[in-house]
């Protein structure tokens, strides 16, 4: 087998502890993913990426860095990859989705912090995530209080740049975000030593647009009555979008979509016909957090769409590719990103419209509002979302859960009752 120990050692990875993490992945993945029946052949590429999660991609980043390339790690769909790639940098998503890292996170953070932040900080301070160790710069943002304070801790380990995301959507907020993009561009240029020119930015805007379009194509295929792919598989693909090579990823997603289109023609359904179609909305599911989807899809439901950051918020809307100047490009980028409906904004009516629209577009039968514990913005926003969905007669249930497996049985019982209610 490939031996990555030397590579990990060069990244200062705690080999002994990291080995414990490696030990759980194969069985965990087999249980959740490979136990599914009738998976598309095109999922083999994504099996490959997961199997090599701390291997091949890390090697690619190491080779890139050896040639002087710079890697930027980020934690949010508001951080514009276009600017990073335009300066010949590589952007990777770093959000932690494993319970493995939570205890280490709790050494530095209060226990009543969301598991995503605890896992991310835990991954860094325990030296068990080679992606963190590969990053030359971390890019944070101001989407929640927990993250804002976590940046101050992470900044002790890796140079940190924080983007100030406005929390309202007035004209001046759009302008402010454009200014933030300009500051970020300068920072990236300084770090990489490469200028972000109009041509370079145009190229990277097109590359990231292509990636978004491929994901949209995948999601459109989930609108079919017969589902050619499970929600779990689609979630995995979106998670991988955050760290895989963008061009290769787009190519592989499009190849998979060709296969799925054939499946739709042949009326292949990976679920039984009476499986309940579910829209998941709420907080992000960072890799390898497959808990919610796994529970849903082993309890009589099928996830047809995610209105989350590891879902539609990541790829909806593309950026205008035909701009006449760098300034115009930054304005278009700012507009695209400010169009994301995150619960950090007030008001956030756009999200309610999105949920209603996606529910119809994907022919969902029920909505699961998924929230990580201690995520105030999403937990509080549930009240308004529920009121608005009630008005339209859209069934919704709120599930708040962390990364541990303690409550799986309880959630299963609640969901089975919810799905039964959808029959009536």
């Amino acid at each position: 087998m490939a031996d990555y120990k030397e590579l990990w050692k060069s990244l200062d990875i705690d080999l002994e502890k990291h080995d414990k993490l490696c030990a759980v992945l194969p069985e965990f993945y087999e249980d959740i993913y490979l136990s599914q029946e009738n998976r598309p052949d095109g999922m083999n590429y994504f099996n490959f990426v997961v199997s090599e999660i701390h291997g091949l991609r890390i090697k690619e980043l190491a080779d890139f860095k050896e040639k002087g390339g710079k890697v930027f790690g980020s934690f949010c769909v508001f951080v514009p990859d276009e600017i990073v790639f335009a300066a010949d940098g590589i952007g990777v998503g770093l959000c932690g989705g494993s319970d493995f890292w939570v205890p280490d996170g709790e050494k530095e953070l209060p226990r009543n912090t969301c598991p995503l932040i605890k896992a991310s900080v835990g991954a860094r301070i325990s030296n068990t995530c080679p992606y963190f160790s590969s990053a030359d710069m971390l890019v944070g943002e101001t989407t929640c209080d927990g993250k804002k304070k976590a940046w101050e801790i992470l900044g002790e380990y890796t140079p940190m740049h924080v983007m100030d995301l406005p929390q309202m959507k007035r004209e001046k907020d759009y302008k402010h975000w454009k200014e933030e993009l300009e500051i970020f561009k300068d920072k990236v240029e300084k770090m990489t030593g490469n200028k972000v020119t109009k041509d370079k930015l145009q190229e990277s805007i097109k590359m990231i647009n292509d990636k978004r379009k491929a994901l949209q194509r995948l999601y459109d295929l989930r609108k079919n009555e017969k589902l050619p792919i499970s929600g779990k598989d689609a979630l995995l693909i979106t998670q991988i979008a955050f760290y895989d090579d963008p061009k290769r990823f787009t190519e592989k997603v499009n190849e998979l979509c060709d296969e799925l289109e054939e499946r739709v023609k042949n009326e292949v359904n990976v679920f039984n016909d009476d499986t309940k179609r579910i829209l998941v909305t709420g907080t992000p599911q960072a890799v390898p957090n497959w808990k919610m989807h796994d529970i849903i899809e082993t309890s009589g439901g099928a996830v047809v769409c995610e209105e989350t950051c590891i879902g539609t918020r990541y790829f909806t809307n593309t950026v205008n590719e035909d701009c006449n100047s760098l300034d115009e490009q930054l304005k278009e980028l700012s507009n695209r990103y400010m169009g994301i409906n995150c619960a950090c904004f007030t008001p956030n009516d756009g999200r309610i419209d999105d949920i209603k629209r996606l529910y119809k577009e994907y022919n969902a039968e029920g909505v699961i509002y998924y929230s990580l514990p201690f995520c105030n913005t999403y937990a509080i926003e549930y009240k308004r979302v529920k009121e608005e969905l009630d008005k339209e007669g859209i069934p919704v249930i709120m599930i708040e859960t962390d990364y541990s497996n303690q409550d799986v049985g309880q959630i299963k019982t609640r969901l089975e009752a919810f799905f039964e209610m959808l029959e009536n």
Partner: protein
Amino acid sequence: MKKQVKAYILFPSHTDGLKLEKVLKERKVKYTITPTPRSLSKSCGIAIMIDPNDIKKVENILKINPEIKTEGIHKLEKRKRVT
């Protein structure tokens, strides 16, 4: 608990695995890329899982493609997930 037997092909590096994948695809042999089971090797990386009934077929493929290096084909009894 239900059990089933699976066969795993291990490789010295992922490039060999991908080379074999290509041939299996051409020959229409059913396969799945998986993380290497811990009980077979402590190194992370890919393995290819096949139906144990196809072992002979794959052995022949490897014979006529000596440039594809493997670390053997291993049978494993796996418990089947009960949901």
